[in-house]
Amino acid sequence: MITLLIREIRLTWRSGGGALTGVLFFLAVVAVFPFAIGPDTKLLSHLAPAILWIGALLASLLGLDRLFAHEREDGSLDLLVIQSHSLTLTIFVKAFAHWLMTGFPLVIATPIFGTMLNLSPYGIAVTMITLLAGTPAITFIGTVGAAVVVKVPRGGMLISILILPLVIPILIFGTTAITGALEDPAPFAVPFMMLCALTLFTSVLGPLAASVMLRHSAD
């Protein structure tokens, strides 16, 4: 399984730096907001957590359609299905590798973009923690979408339509947790724990649903 993880990461790295594209997209989304809102630093710092979360959400959806598409094209998807290892576990590892190459770089890049949006160091730290806890859930739900559209010729757009409504709870709990940390009366722990719970839940159910789907589409 660790071999698979390393293989996945190498593949993404060598096929044109998936991590860099994601971060660039994140930068583009974040940079567009000040143009639309205006360079009002007070307003920007107020909106910064929301902007960062939306940017991370959209960037996480990028490339999801490629999660199983390569394997399907060269036929190795069938091998993954009929191998002796658990397919669910294989998909979990693939999804985790995908997150390491798309979601995790966003967390690393957050301090830079947060500073650009005039977010306080404390606010940046909280945003990073919530992104670290929440973005895996987006990838795990996205795994189901990737498995579902694996036979669709151009599934990228379709994945976004199917997955976006389902990841709204993650966005809600993520931004609520940040608000809770930055403003006094609102709680931080409750939405943050809900966020962690969502990630744990989806890390099991997402690969499971995807494996049901892939096993059927392989035969």
């Binding site: 979408g145 669709v152 379709l158 649903a209 049901v212």
Partner: protein, 255 residues
């Protein structure tokens, strides 16, 4: 399309043939009865709704309830039916489950749209706003987007039978929405709360209101089943036409 998949589709057609045929017979008998029931219930329901007394606060606008609330019920019930159909595809591999799931989606989307639109029309005089980002409204809007996404997914495949499993898996993935919608007004204390489901069954709602509401809800249910059966029948006919066309194309190619 490869010969393998052609043979496969043919085999699955043969296997399911008995069932859809029996279904067609059932549908042609049930549809007139259901349609008549829908018409009677709708006429009675609308008549009683129109004669319902005016609310001391809301005046005439309270009557929007009789078309809004049943539509919202149906938006949720149709999705629940789709989830059941999805289980039918995944567990029992019932050939009609996919037909049921696929044809229910557009009807459910229309009911959801109706609930959102009438709610908006009711919200303007009552809350002073067309739209409010409150928990109930937002979760129903998300349900609407999910419906549209599923319709898009059902049309994305070249071969209709290939969409069955993706649709079923995706429908079940969206199932957590239903409890969220149901309890959204309890979990988040928001605008929608005062005039919601909670009223139903409480003594605070006089029979002048809940009897027409109940009849309208039954009328909407009957309407849904009528439309659903008709739509399923159309889908089966469309698939038969498709397989006949494929067959004739294949035999022409062989000559």
């Amino acid at each position: 399309m490869t010969t393998d998949t052609v043979i496969e589709t043919k085999a699955s057609n043969l296997w399911g043939l008995a069932n859809p045929t029996r279904f067609m017979g059932f549908a042609s008998r049930a549809i007139p009865v259901l349609a008549a029931g829908t018409a009677i219930l709708l006429v009675v329901g609308i008549y009683m709704s129109m004669n319902a007394p005016e609310d001391y606060q809301q005046g005439h606008t309270v009557k929007i309830m009789f078309i809004h609330v049943p539509a919202a019920y149906l938006a949720v019930i149709v999705y629940a039916i789709m989830c059941t159909s999805a289980l039918g595809t995944l567990i029992w591999r019932h050939p009609l489950a996919d037909v049921s799931l696929r044809t229910a989606a557009p009807i459910g989307a229309v009911f959801t749209f109706l609930a959102l639109a009438t709610g908006s029309l009711w919200g303007k005089p009552m809350w002073g706003t067309w739209w409010e980002w409150d928990a109930r409204l937002t979760s129903v809007l998300v349900l609407f987007i999910v419906y549209l996404g599923l319709i898009a997914l059902s049309k994305a495949f070249d071969e209709p039978s290939e969409a069955a499993w993706p649709l079923a898996v995706m429908t079940l993935t969206g199932a957590p929405l239903l409890p969220i919608i149901k309890w959204s007004v309890d979990w988040w204390n928001t605008l929608h709360q005062p005039a919601s489901l909670a009223k139903f069954g409480k003594p605070s709602m006089p029979p002048d209101y809940y009897i027409p509401l109940l009849i309208m809800a039954l009328a909407y249910m009957a309407l849904f089943f009528t439309l659903h059966l008709m739509s399923m029948r159309n889908e089966i006919l469309a698939r038969r036409i498709r397989s006949m066309k494929m067959k004739s194309a294949r035999s022409r190619g062989a000559c």
